[in-house]
Amino acid sequence: MKGMSQIVKVIAELVKDFIILFGIYIILNGHLSPGGGFAGGVIIAASYILITLAFGRERAMKELSERGSHLLDNFGVLLFWAIAVLGWLIPGQAFFSNFIQRFAPGSPYNILTSGIILVCNIAIGIKVGASLFSVFTALAHFESPLKGDDEE
């Protein structure tokens, strides 16, 4: 997949790390302001999609390989699952209960508060970012049989 012109390449190189930083900010403040895991994950995936569009698929594969995104995807879900099952295993608490808040509550309006919600947001953010990136690279793989419109 061919990349874009030189201006786009320079700007994408500069901007991609700030997009990931913004995505991490939205994930971490998910319990205090709008956003949360899913929106932050989409923004992190958007940074890799920018790299794919500007430079071509091989450069994006160098940043995060297919195997790596697959592993991150599963790691995100297994982290979420492990936190929920940990709530089930602790005697006296139900499945998926907020056991961190009940045993070690933080102070309100802080980042380190509301126990399980922060960990679940991070897990969902990792999972959604890796998933959308792998969907996009899988779809970008099929570009040869389609008749291109402005590929020079």
Binding site: L32, S33, P34, G36, F38, Y109, V135, A138, L139, F142, P145, L146
Partner: protein, 115 residues
């Protein structure tokens, strides 16, 4: 009035699914239908002169809890948007695979299935 506009959008999406022959237009119709139902669901939670249901550090808690809009439909619609994204990703990749196998996006020509 605005709820019936949401239902008009829903019927428009349903019309796209039913009558268009291109695969991509059918997928666009499905996305329009999903977004119309999500919009309808969020608009159900509106309260007149309501505020945002977020409790920040320097606001008065009781006023926010009495006058805010309903936050439950917003949480449900967030889940529904994620589901629509999953369906969209699956259907677009199915459409691309179908183009590889049949050579066309026209659904009247993709007819090898019997029954």
């Amino acid at each position: 009035m605005i709820y019936s506009l949401c239902l008009v959008l829903f019927i428009l999406g349903l019309y796209c699914v039913l009558t268009k022959k291109n695969l991509i237009k059918i997928i666009v119709g499905l996305v329009i239908m999903d977004n119309a139902v999500n919009l309808f669901f969020v608009l159900l939670g509106y309260r007149t002169n309501g505020t945002v249901p977020i409790i920040t550090n320097d606001a008065e808690k009781s006023m926010i809890m009495q006058h805010s809009v309903d936050p439950i439909p917003q949480a449900l619609v967030l889940t529904s948007i994620v589901i629509s994204l999953g369906i969209l990703a699956l259907m677009v990749s199915l459409a691309i695979r179908l183009y590889e196998k049949y050579g066309t996006f026209d659904i009247t020509k993709i007819r090898k299935l019997k029954g």
